[in-house]
């Protein structure tokens, strides 16, 4: 009974454990939504509006119905229940009736024996449109007399934040106007899933998504089914980044399956994917920063308009975020921020990694550089002088209670080694070198610095709690813990972290995951960098409850044997131990499995009042980046040479995947800085393909040198902050700053184009003073 026991569980918290889904992924055996297959299944296809704005006079599906191989053709009248759905405002038609409000809006559905047949039949559906004038510009949408996208007007949501005295005087002021383009998440795995009709009249939907339960809540009413009859299961997810927060093919596939009584699979093509999900909001931002002569911020005034497109999606939350972060991670005593999300006939915009904080950061960091130049101090020093810290008051009046090592993040980032200057270079390393267009004659280097921050978890009074169930049972090779959580693994690694947490808490080696579905309570969304904290917290609580129940059994067993257990009980590997001595194998107490289900809540937040004051966000994560770029002054081509990043992570539960998040997040920020934009003309998307919408390739990505600041966040599991977003928030701003340093140009719009860099295109001017919103400001 005195065998020595191992001190730590292998594969617990803090280790760079390999991904639990890694082996099937490298073998090509991991099943994504687009890989699902069922005996006798049909393929669904969506007919979409070619017009950004039109009245539907009539739809004739008769030619499609008689096409050989077709099993169903459905229109709005066939939606069994509620005709609309939505994340925050229920305004998006399952299938359009009377009016279409954006190009690509779903109008009809077809199910056929194969995809090719479904597409051909879809061409035979005749929709009679009366084309209407489109509201194609976000500022035009706010003008008097603009056509209305919805009957209730074009203001989707307005946020007003007023703090201190925004009319205060300052020694010096800097003004700026900034624009950001519409970015696509460009998930590599397209929207996909399969609906399987069930014998109870319900349906099982296997779908690639970020939040099973919020889908279920939207899908069930549209099908006119009780929630229990709409069971969702997570199919393999090929990336998300916000694009899978909204419903895409979910309701459509279920409608077709219920109508035909057959399994129906739907997979979007790349082109359709550009129309099938929301994008990052384009923004126009007016900023005015007032400071003392020595560079202390006195006042920040911001007016921001973002284009929400045709339907609400998560625009209300995005503009809330963009507005609350508009002054940056700085102490500013006097603030006035007005943010408006507007409806237009452009594609709907919603969640994308960074969620409003990206656009704000591009603006406030450009302002900080302007201010540094005015004051005549180093941009890094200016940031240090104004940085937030624990105890600081934000523009919403919220006091930062958690960790906020902003100065450390800044200092360490500024101190990271600069890239070596190569003596000899392969021409491919010149900007545009892969295209063999440059010989590197007129190269200019520039360095830029930016910091930013992002909230973790949902805000403003929302309780996005997470549930998890843990079952401890006797397996063939010893005790096994099975974790059942609905948390969506979208590539970020949450499933691996949940396994690590269960190992850490229970002290056993064998931990398995139940497939995520709606048979356990909601885990909330895999977004807002929240799952490590929320579902991690739920697994931690459930494991502790399981352990308590198990130890109760152990104590009872000891009592019946007349043993006194003085020391603390622990599980180590396969044994229950006390005082470093093995008592008995864990499985001896598992004749019946031990099961516990627990819900984790983060601390409560509050909505903002009419002056934008409130305890709005749960907690914050900060990052700083320094970018080095090289610009070919003649050709306007760019190469990002290096990005250095320091991120505040609380505690890295899986360091390798934390670095992976930083590198991947930086790539998406780089994309917005220099290449990625959905181009829209009169409401029409001009580049819905990977040929025309460019995302960074391995040749575009520089080395990302990163370090972590680990100052545990009090009151959250393991002190860990979410890590998915801060790097995306900051890198666009850092790269833009470096491009300004290299060229001396204003560059107030991202993505920066070659024409901007060589001066063919002047800086963007606002169409006038910032637009006011009726009834506000």
């Amino acid at each position: 009974m005195s065998t020595k026991v191992r001190e730590r569980t292998k594969g617990g918290v803090g280790e760079s454990l390999r991904r639990v889904d890694g082996a099937p992924k490298v073998k090509g055996q991991f099943l994504y939504g687009s890989d699902l297959w069922a005996e006798d299944m049909l393929w669904g296809f969506t007919v979409r509006s070619p017009h950004p704005h039109a009245r539907i006079r009539a739809i004739d599906i008769s030619q499609a119905l008689t096409y050989p191989g077709v099993h169903a053709a459905l229109v709005a009248a066939d939606v069994p229940g509620k005709k609309t759905y939505g994340l925050e405002i229920v305004d998006q038609p399952v299938l359009a009736w009377e009016r279409v409000r954006y190009q690509g809006e779903p109008v009809a559905l077809v199910a056929a024996a194969d995809l090719e047949t479904a597409k051909r039949a879809a061409e035979r559906i005749k929709v009679d449109y009366e084309v209407l004038p489109a509201v194609a510009d976000m500022e035009q949408a706010l003008r008097r007399g603009a056509p209305r996208v919805h009957d209730h007007g074009n203001v989707l949501k307005h946020i007003h934040i007023e703090h201190g005295n925004p009319d205060v005087r300052a020694d010096l002021w800097v003004d700026g106007y900034y624009e950001t383009g519409m970015q696509d998440q460009a998930i590599l795995g397209p929207e996909s899933g399969m609906a399987v009709p069930a014998e109870d009249g319900g349906v099982d939907l296997y779908v690639a998504t970020q939040w099973l339960h919020v889908d279920q809540e939207q899908v069930a009413p549209c099908l006119d089914l009780p929630k229990e009859k709409v069971r969702l299961h997570l199919a393999g997810v090929g990336g998300a980044f916000g694009s899978r927060e909204d419903v895409s093919m979910h309701i459509h596939a279920c409608m077709l399956a219920l109508r035909t009584g057959r399994s129906v699979k739907m997979v979007y093509s790349r082109e359709e994917s550009f129309f099938g999900h929301v994008h990052r909001h384009p923004a126009r931002i007016w900023m005015r920063h007032g400071a003392s002569r020595d560079g202390k911020l006195i006042c920040v005034r911001v007016r921001m308009v973002i284009d929400g497109g045709a339907y609400a999606s998560s625009s209300p939350a995005v503009i809330t975020n963009a507005s609350t972060f508009a002054a940056g991670p700085y102490e500013v005593p006097n603030v006035l921020i007005d943010g408006t999300a507007v409806f237009t006939n452009n594609p709907p915009c919603g969640a994308m990694r960074g969620f409003g904080a990206v656009q704000a950061c591009f603006g406030y960091e450009a302002q900080m550089d302007k201010l540094a130049a005015r004051v005549g101090i180093d941009p890094v020093e200016l940031r240090l002088r104004n940085a937030l810290s624990t105890g600081s008051v934000l523009p919403t009046g919220q006091v930062i209670r958690g960790s906020a090592p902003v100065r450390e993040v800044i200092r360490r980032c500024a101190a990271l080694p600069l890239p070596p200057q190569p003596v000899e270079r392969d021409p491919i390393t010149y900007p545009g070198g892969a295209g063999n267009v440059s010989r590197g004659e007129r190269l200019r280097q520039g360095t830029g610095f930016a910091i930013g921050y992002k909230n973790i978890a949902y805000s403003a009074g929302f309780d996005d709690s997470a549930e998890a169930r843990v079952k401890l049972f006797a397996g063939a090779g010893g005790p096994v813990a099975e974790v059942h959580s609905a948390a969506a693994e979208v590539g970020q690694g949450v499933h691996t972290v949940l396994v690590q947490i269960a190992r850490e808490e229970l002290g056993i080696d064998q931990v398995t995951l139940h497939p995520p579905d709606t048979m356990v309570g909601s885990a909330g969304s895999s977004s807002a960098s929240r799952q490590t904290m929320m579902s991690g917290g739920a697994v931690q609580l459930a494991c502790r409850a399981v352990r308590d129940q198990l130890f109760e059994r152990v104590r009872q067993w000891a009592r019946t044997r007349g043993l006194t257990l003085a020391g603390e009980l622990r599980i180590m590997g396969a044994d229950v131990v006390t005082d470093g001595r093995r008592l008995a194998p864990v499985v001896d107490f598992l004749e019946q499995p031990v099961v516990a289900t627990r819900v984790y809540h983060h601390r409560k937040t509050t909505p903002m009042d009419e002056r934008g004051q409130g305890d709005v966000h749960v907690t914050f994560a900060f990052a700083a980046q320094r970018a080095v770029v090289e610009v070919d002054e003649e050709l306007g081509l760019v190469r990002v040479v290096q990005v250095a990043c320091v991120q505040d992570v609380g505690h890295a539960l899986n360091p390798q995947s934390v670095y992976g998040q930083i590198e991947g997040g930086t790539a998406q920020g780089l994309g917005l800085a220099v290449m990625e934009e959905i181009q829209i003309k009169d409401g029409r998307v001009l580049n819905p393909s990977f040929t025309d919408y460019l995302i960074p390739t391995i040749l575009d990505m520089p080395p990302v040198v990163s370090e972590l600041v680990e100052e545990p966040e009090p009151g959250v599991p393991f002190g860990a902050k979410g890590v998915g977003e801060p790097s995306t928030v900051v890198s666009t701003a850092a790269i833009a700053a470096a491009l300004r340093a290299a060229t001396g140009r204003e560059l107030n719009r991202v993505p920066v184009r070659p024409d901007d860099l060589i001066g063919l295109e002047p800086p963007r001017k606002s169409s006038g003073p910032p637009p006011a919103v009726k009834g506000v400001a």
């Binding site: 795995g189 997810v237 390798q656 991947g664 390739t697 391995i698 080395p703």
Partner: protein, 155 residues
């Protein structure tokens, strides 16, 4: 039309419409879904396979072109639970996130290392320029290639 091809060492046939791509045949007719479809335009490399030993984007090859030829897919690399060194290296280096790009990259990297067992970083970047990954930012993919080269060199 009926096409016949040798896939991962086994002769298979499928009845396809004339416009079908090799990727379509592999995924929809032969149940080999390891090769992914992310663009169907030759832009992303997710569908990379070997056709008679040459690396191709299977979305750009007509099924008819593969008639009576030999195709090798990502599914051929591991032997049961024993992973190919490139697969092993991807896991060890943390080069997999969502994994949708991974099968195409693994095939492309295995092909690169067949031709150049110790590629420089620049060579790696050039060789993989046609493989898009949206999740990783590529740093750990480069690490994985170097690691795989080491593993195979020592084997």
């Amino acid at each position: 039309m009926i096409i016949r091809l040798k896939v991962n060492g086994e002769w298979r046939q499928a009845d396809v419409w004339p416009g079908a791509s090799l990727l379509h045949v592999l995924r929809e007719h032969l149940g080999l879904v390891g090769s992914k479809n992310a663009c169907e335009q030759g832009e992303c490399g997710s569908c990379s396979v070997w056709l008679d030993g040459d690396l191709v984007c299977s979305c750009l090859v007509l099924a008819a072109q593969a008639h009576e030829r030999e195709v090798q897919t990502v599914e051929s690399l591991a032997e049961g639970p024993r992973l190919h060194p490139v697969q092993e290296a991807f896991l060890e280096a943390g080069a997999v996130q969502c994994g949708f790009c991974t099968p195409g990259l693994i095939v492309a990297v295995a092909d690169l290392l067949q031709h150049d067992p110790a590629p420089s970083e620049l060579t790696i970047r050039e060789a993989l320029a046609g493989n898009l990954c949206r999740c990783t930012g590529y740093a750990k993919i480069i690490d994985a290639v170097k690691l795989a080269a080491q593993k195979m060199g020592n084997a």
